[in-house]
Amino acid sequence: MHDLGGTQGFGPVEMEVDEPVFHADWERRAYRLTISSMMAGHLNGRFRHAIERMDPTGYLESSYYEHWLHALETLLIEKGVITEKELSNRAAELAKGAS
């Protein structure tokens, strides 16, 4: 789904004037976590393909940094650095803590 060159039907380009580099704090976190993981050698040149492997509908319906987060999680789980269970458990704990 990522191979978009020449595809019709996406409509006009929408520009935001003076947009910030990151639109939310979590985007900033996704960016820095990905790049530092890349620099530390955890991603092994597989990052783009991890995004390309996303479900096509999910790819189009999610935002850019959601793609990054998806790819980062996927690669770290596949590499055995973390498990999905650890990640969702910790996210759930954080959700409880915040409300």
Binding site: L4, F10, G11, S37, L69, L76, I82, S88, R90, A95
Partner: protein, 206 residues
Amino acid sequence: MSTNHHNAPESEPALRVKALELLLTEKGLVDPQALDLLVDTYENKVGPKNGAQVVARAWVDPAYKARLLSNGTAAIAELGFSGMQGEDLVVVENTPEVHNLIVCTLCSCYPWPMLGLPPVWYKSAPYRSRAVSDPRGVLREFGLELAPNVEIRVWDSSAEIRYLVLPERPKGTEHMSEAQLAELITRDSMIGVTKVTLDSKAGSQA
């Protein structure tokens, strides 16, 4: 810890990225201080003013311009610029006959050392799909109409080479200093969706 709404529930990506960061920190795989420094570089320090400096130098110094067009990586390094997503930089020159436009149809490749991180529209499906097949339509959306005999060259950054457009220097700028010229050179003109005019302001992203 949340910098967004105080009592609203956080979004799933926000929770997951925080969880991920905590786990990786606990496992000794990331250092939060390094994370802060890294993002500070690309959010606050690196940006289109870098590219504007390079373009302004090329406008006033023909020998530098020749070096820039011949080996972009080496020429930007002369001004102290280098690094991630710019290790192999090619600069393409706009003339009255040729107009260049940069895209990455497959993802979002962009010359970070020159322009910082790309805007959302550059990474969006409308731009990625149509820049290659309907460049004139895309340019029209940015307010730029080119004559049919102008050759548009669209550069699809499909490999690790990164591209930067060297925009045409507008008439009426002959008296300006290099620093004054740099203030006219916008990010969008270096991607190729607009031209530099006397009314351009590098500070606003247009």
